[in-house]
């Protein structure tokens, strides 16, 4: 029975984490920049949900709005600042770090440094055999699966997905074929930000809302993206699932601190040995 509970716990954590990692991975693959403000996009998503609750609106409305709001913020930032950084990955890190700093401290000021809890739209749990399973966590897993399927369909089935893949594969040729890569990049950035916002919105009932809630996700999702290999959709998902899953699973066996450190060290070692990502072996 504990095995099922264990699996469920790992799954629920990985689900949220995959959304964060996927957003970061899409941006990193497409533009080659690592977005240090990604944790703050998660935070903004959570904050949006909190605002909805404060104003007496239903929480699920907030969760619908969170990705849109954060995507808009991302689009705005991309237009103003981030598009200047595409040629220079290190400057991009510092620039996005500065953006993240401002966003985080802004939310901290708004929250007055407090922790807040938001109640989930689905409360309670249901019985699965003898095990009681949290409804909200189940919903999170299902939503994540749906979103991932949606992303996959968007990339492989639609005209826009084709343009995105073209711009990823060969930007110069894509431009020559009449695809506005600038527009594709802007859309991609907004989309990645929106995914982070969604993750933030979904996780806020599970974790409490505070200004620093996005920070632990940032470094882990960096590792996840490097682990999966930049430049692919499946790589980012696989890497995130691996890092998220192992950082949820290991604390069951060893001390949380040691587990956390171990995940990092193993991930770094793997990336060192296999710089193109885990999946590079199977691809082509």
């Amino acid at each position: 029975m504990t095995a099922v509970a264990f699996l469920f716990d790992v799954l629920a954590y990985s689900a949220v984490f995959v959304l964060v990692g996927l957003g970061l991975g899409i941006i990193a693959s497409m533009m080659g920049i690592f977005n240090f403000a990604h944790g703050e996009f998660v935070l903004l998503g959570a904050y949006t949900v909190y605002l909805f609750e404060q104003h007496g609106l239903p929480v699920w409305c907030g969760m619908l709005a969170a990705p849109l709001v954060v995507a808009l913020v991302g689009l705005l930032l991309e237009r103003i600042a981030i598009r200047r950084f595409y040629a220079t990955p290190v400057v991009a890190m510092l620039g996005t770090y500065a953006i993240g700093l401002s966003l985080r401290e802004g939310v901290r000021t708004l929250l007055a440094g407090q922790f807040y809890n938001v109640t989930a739209p689905l409360v309670g749990s249901f019985a699965l055999g003898e095990l009681s399973v949290s409804r909200w966590r189940t919903a999170v897993i299902l939503i994540t699966l749906l979103v991932m399927l949606g992303c996959y369909a968007l990339l492989t089935q639609t005209r826009m997905g084709l343009q995105v893949r073209a711009a990823l594969e060969n930007p110069a040729l894509a431009r020559a074929s009449g695809i506005s890569t600038a527009r594709v990049y802007a859309a991609t950035f907004a989309f990645g930000a929106g995914l982070a916002g969604l993750a933030g919105g979904l996780m806020v009932p599970i974790y409490s809302l505070s200004a620093d809630m996005g920070v632990p996700f940032l470094i882990k999702s960096f590792l996840a993206v490097m682990l999966g290999g930049m430049g692919s959709f499946d790589g980012a998902v696989a890497g995130s699932a691996l890092v998220g899953g192992s950082s949820a699973a290991l604390p069951w066996f060893i001390k949380p601190v040691v587990a956390d450190v171990l995940v990092f060290l193993i991930a770094i070692a793997i990336v060192k040995l296999r710089p193109d990502g885990l999946l590079s072996h199977w691809r082509r």
């Binding site: 510092l94 620039g95 500065a98 401290e105 956390d260 450190v261 770094i268 990336v271 710089p275």
Partner: protein
Amino acid sequence: MPEELISGPARLAPPARVAARARALLPGIELGLLALALVLPPFLEDFWVLFATRVAILSLLALSFDLVWGYAGIMSFGQALFSGMAGYCTALLATQLGVTSVFVLLGTGALVGLFVALAVAALVILGKRAPSLVFVSLGTLTGSYVVERLARGWSFVGGQNGIPSLPRLTLGRFEIAEGPMFYYLALFVLVLVYVGLRFFTRSQLGLVLAGMRQQEGRIAFFGYRLQHLKGVTFCLAGLIAGISGCLYAFHEGYVGPGQLGPVQSTQVVLYVLFGGVGTLVGAVLGVSLVDLFSYFLSQRFETAWPIVLGVLLLLIVMYRPSGLIGLLVSDRERIGSFGRGGKTGEKPR
């Protein structure tokens, strides 16, 4: 004018006279700052002396980052790791074994910084394949995060609280108290390191580093082992960061996990970026200006000042990648010249 078009390429190699005149500015700034730093403390209130001491110590850390990024092109988000580790080790030495001699502690700090940097370099920089820039920056960042996490969880080093109430440093029988004494100690170390680095960056090795920064492939083609050069520079920077960490711990009388972590590491990056990458004086200037600025902002806006700092930083990164020093000094002078005549003022990465 057509004449200008014809003489276009010649502008890259300017007459020696012009170059010489332009080059005079940087030493001027350096000497001016030094004179200011030497003369000022007796006229300042106690708070400002402590402030200036902290600036001098953090300048060491900033110099170490400037060395790795500005000169060797290694993006290290882990400088605080070296300084913090040195801080912890020397603090343990002082509290557990009762060592307070400034020579022993500073030496230990430097060695700890050196060896931690060596270990990190072995993992992240050295190896069969040349690592990507992103891997190095994320690797060092991760190292910094991991060690902070460990320090927070390990009760032997005080867990969350760190190691408080460190004894004072001693020089022979003298106790070096916080205030002017400690300030001049820190300044002395800073000047020593600064002069040393100035020689280092103008040496043959510095020349190779400058070439590497411009065009890695070509330097590799000359037969230099890039990764070894980078490793050596990285370790030297670790040593300097170690000294800084030791001084910082004993100046504050406290060492905590925050001094190890990514927040401190990125703070150092901000300092150097603000001041100007690739000029030693830019790092010092950056620390002074950012700290002064943060202080005054925090007086005016109690909670909102980090927001302003973030926006300001973004503006600098976007519009003035060469930092504030770039306002004063030309690119050519910033990069410096080796041998006779002026080198071409090609923009660094």
